[in-house]
């Protein structure tokens, strides 16, 4: 139904009132991210009136107990603080639905409950299913939703599903998950959430590239020497994370999804339009163009894996990866990975993309740095010592979101001395107002039917295809590439430096 009052009120697609069903409602994601995100949307006046939330989980709880637990966490984590009056109204629309994920009768009761809500609305209503449970329940939840018939779009009303990562653990499991999802929901109603894409700075990559005329002419192998994507964390396996992490590793946990998504935004061609498929068509072309490291030798030459050993981070002693709680003492899971990625397109031929992710590194930072070629060896570059450092454009994703550009300048004085200087833009400095949480934007987009910032099936599968070759070489080949180590609190193993050194490159110092 058309709402004329929305036109021109906001420069975004219009979210529609719906019932949000969250599977895994007693989990951390629901408490710390989803409920506070929806609350903040209500505070901003952006949440459509009439949105109802049903938490679906196994534990016995009343609505009141559920709300009270959510309120307690919201008070601690909500970006905009906690207002009792607004919470009271918001919480009235939150309900709890107890059921095992495998129990078909629980879904029948859910269907009745949804119908009841729809009747109150005067007929039918939109439905958004958010699968925030552990991945082993994805199949059961999707199949039971289909069995209960609540996956179907009713005339003029949609049913959509949001799936949290991991989208499988390799290509076959991702394909299986996609098949199960697509048996229950159409691809256009499927929203695979990658919260990195909801971050302001990730969204700003496209704006930076395509709303500024100065960058795009330089954005190619004629002007760019190399690109680095770094995600460093100064944490280990705190909070019992070891069990999950040891089954995933840096490559599956971060590279397959977040970092390859960032890479595709940096490397994609300009889309024909800003529609979801317009953008995603270009991103998937990048993933399809990744040169495959499909032999153990190629993997050894282009990928470094490592685990941290005991060291110091932020002045604290930390144990090695294999000594961490819930980690196998003989684990062969990488806590650090560095890759040389080649994108075989006309634009990027010969430009290496270096991607690294590691735990227990010196600081927390995610950034993309574009390293431009040095000027010709004439004039200043012909002088002794040459030009000190090329131009580098840095897009800081988190924390301290912003953009900086390094250039060379003359030091004042009678002699000719040059030093690199930095032009720096900080979101927090220029825009005092805090950015919304990624989940706020993504939840609103899913209610509005805008899938631009969500991963499409083919993107996920292409990313797994690339990752699977590497995993195969690591875990299934007769001569697997070595597992290196690095001291916790350092920037990774020497082998990672050598990976770039072979091409005369160095990791950017963060």
């Amino acid at each position: 139904m058309n709402n004329p009052f929305r036109k021109d009120l906001e420069s975004r697609s219009r979210p529609e009132a719906c019932t949000v069903v969250i599977f895994g409602a007693t989990g951390d994601l629901t408490h710390r991210k989803l409920i506070p995100a929806l609350y903040n949307l209500q505070v901003e006046g952006a949440l459509p009136a009439g949105v109802k939330i049903i938490g679906f989980a196994r534990r016995e709880k009343s609505d009141e107990e559920f709300r009270s637990g959510l309120e307690e966490v919201n008070k601690k984590v909500s970006r905009s603080g906690h207002d009792d009056s607004i919470w009271a109204d918001y919480a009235e629309n939150i309900h709890y639905h107890q059921s095992e994920f495998q129990d078909a009768s629980g879904y029948k009761r859910l269907a009745e409950r949804l119908d009841e809500i729809d009747r109150e609305r005067g007929g039918n209503g939109h439905r958004l299913f958010y699968i925030a449970s552990a991945p082993e329940y994805f199949d059961d939840i999707l199949e039971n939703l289909k069995e209960a018939g609540i996956n179907r779009n009713k005339k003029g009303f949609w049913s959509r599903v949001i799936v949290e990562k991991p989208f499988g653990t390799d290509l076959p499991t991702a394909k299986h998950l996609n098949q199960v999802v697509n048996k229950t929901f159409r691809e256009r109603d499927t929203y695979r959430i990658d919260h990195y894409l909801g971050k302001e700075t990730a969204q700003n990559i496209m704006v930076l590239r395509f709303a500024n005329a100065i960058f795009e002419p330089l954005w190619n192998n004629r002007c760019i020497e190399q690109i680095q994507i770094t995600c460093s964390e100064n944490l280990g396996m705190e909070g019992g994370r070891g069990a999950y992490y040891d089954s995933a590793g840096a490559m599956r946990d971060m590279v397959q999804n977040h970092l390859l998504q960032l890479l595709s935004l940096v490397a994609m061609e300009p889309p024909t339009d800003l529609s979801a498929d317009g953008v995603r068509d270009e991103k998937v072309k990048v993933l399809r163009s990744l040169r495959q490291w499909d032999t153990p030798e190629l993997v050894a030459d282009n990928v470094v894996r490592a685990q941290y050993i005991a060291g110091h981070v932020d002045g604290e002693n930390v144990v090695g990866y294999r000594e961490e709680d819930r980690v196998d003492p003989e684990s062969m899971t990488e806590s650090y990975v560095a890759l040389r990625v080649l994108v075989d397109t006309w634009r990027w031929s010969g430009v290496p993309f270096y991607v690294r992710m590691g735990k227990q590194l010196p600081k927390k930072a995610t950034e993309i740095s574009i390293h431009f070629k040095e000027p010709p060896t004439v004039l200043f570059n012909a002088l002794s010592g040459g030009v000190p450092g090329g131009n580098v454009l840095v897009i800081r994703i988190q924390p301290d979101e912003g953009i900086s550009l390094r250039m060379v300048s003359k030091i004042p004085g009678s002699s000719l001395r040059m030093e690199p200087v930095k032009m720096d833009f900080h979101y927090a400095t220029s825009f005092g107002k805090g950015s919304p949480e990624a989940y706020e934007r993504l939840l609103l987009d899913s209610m509005a039917g805008d899938a631009t910032l969500f991963a499409r099936r083919d993107e996920v599968e292409e990313a797994w295809k690339f990752i699977d070759h590497i995993h195969h070489a690591w875990h299934q080949s007769k001569l697997p590439p070595v597992m290196s180590d690095y001291v916790a609190g350092t920037w990774g193993p020497k082998e990672a430096d050598d990976l770039l050194g072979k091409n005369g490159h160095k990791w950017r110092r963060l």
Partner: protein, 370 residues
């Protein structure tokens, strides 16, 4: 200026400097404090002809710079004073950004007396930060200084139509300026006052039952504070512009405490539209739609930080509260600056609004050299 001691100016505006030394003194200010970051995304000029307003405006800029890094240029002018003079002060407003970095914005304050005769342009605007847009906040009635020579320098022009004694004439001047300078973006604080109300109304009409009932409404009632009749008219203009409702009787049918209009919806329902003024109301206190089966109501009590949204359609009921705009003008300007964009909705609504306002538009201002 005689109402204020020099000390008041120094306390509020910082260090008094010679006009010729403003840039040099600003540089010194930053050299003395290496720990702070100088941030600026816009030039924000705040202009007032009211005595002492420059001091209050410095406080307002202190608030605005929390979210909008700018170079602020405060301009106070006493045009009735026979002596021509100009004084300048510099200071910086600093805030801790995310609890870490001290982010500061420069402020230059100019107090002029006497006729402008070009001094405003020559002195004040030579201190703009180059390449950054100029947002000009004009306080009070438009005067003869609002001329092409001034507005041709401006990117966004902020004013508050609730402060105007003769809105028709002032809107006429704004209209002429917009025709002359296509890139000039007008931003009416009165329009921003109702932004959360509009959001709340739009939010309720997302509901299919409310949306279905929209073209079957019989009544639209808006209650405003007497100072904010413009906001009421703008809200009604917004509704008729968005819904396509047509005027069905002669306009306007005014009464002592409000305005009454008659419209016909696209489905043929007659709608009585009333704008009621109430001295106890918030700037916009109530916006209420009624049909036989559906009531949509957005209300705000005077001074309340909340807006109440209500939808009643048989057994289908929605009631919730959302935060409201603050009534403070600095907060409203911050809100406008946050929105950015080209204010297309306001521009679209203007013709209907001016029709509701009635009468012939015309800029009667005498023009003076700025």
């Amino acid at each position: 200026m005689s109402d204020y001691a020099d000390n008041d100016y120094a306390m509020a505006l910082g260090k008094e400097v010679a006009i010729a030394d403003v840039d040099k003194e600003l540089r010194l200010l930053w050299e003395e404090d290496k720990a702070s970051t100088n941030a600026s995304l816009i030039n924000l000029a705040v202009y007032s002809e009211q005595k002492g307003a420059i001091i209050k405006n410095s406080e307002r800029v202190q608030i605005i710079t929390r979210e909008h890094a700018c170079r602020a240029i405060l301009i106070g002018i006493d045009r009735n004073n026979p002596d021509a003079s100009i004084r300048a002060w510099i200071t910086a407003h600093c805030h801790l950004s995310h609890g870490r970095k001290s982010v500061c914005c420069e402020q230059i304050a100019f107090q002029l007396t006497g006729k402008s005769t070009g001094r405003l342009r020559n002195t004040v605007f030579s201190h703009l930060n180059s390449d950054l847009p100029l947002v000009f906040w004009w306080q009070g009635e438009l005067s003869s200084l609002f001329s092409e020579r001034l507005y041709s320098l401006i990117d966004r022009f902020i004013f508050d139509s609730s402060e105007w004694a003769n809105p028709l004439e002032s809107y006429g001047c704004i209209g002429e300026a917009m025709q002359s300078e296509q890139s000039l973006l007008p931003m009416d604080i009165e329009w921003t006052r109702s932004s959360q109300i509009r959001m709340a109304v739009a939010g309720l009409f997302d509901d299919p039952m409310a949306a279905n009932a929209l073209q079957h409404m019989n009544e639209l009632r808006v209650v405003v504070h007497p100072k904010h009749r413009m906001a009421g008219l703008q809200l009604v203009a917004w509704v008729i512009q968005r819904t396509g409702w047509k005027q069905s009787k002669e306009l306007p049918l005014g009464s002592d405490n409000g305005d009454i209009y008659h419209y016909e919806t696209t489905e043929g329902s007659d709608v009585v539209v009333t704008i009621v003024t109430d001295p106890l109301s918030a700037p916009v206190g109530i916006m209420e739609f009624k049909s036989a089966n559906c009531e949509v109501r957005v209300t705000r009590d005077a001074g309340s930080p909340y807006i109440r949204q209500e939808l009643h359609a048989g057994s289908h009921q929605i009631e919730r509260c959302t935060p409201s705009n603050s009534d403070d003008s600095a907060d409203l300007v911050m809100n406008q600056l946050s929105r950015g964009g080209n204010n297309s909705l306001y521009r679209a609504v203007m013709p209907d609004f001016l029709e509701l306002l009635g009468g012939e538009l015309g800029c009667g201002c005498e023009v003076e050299d700025v």
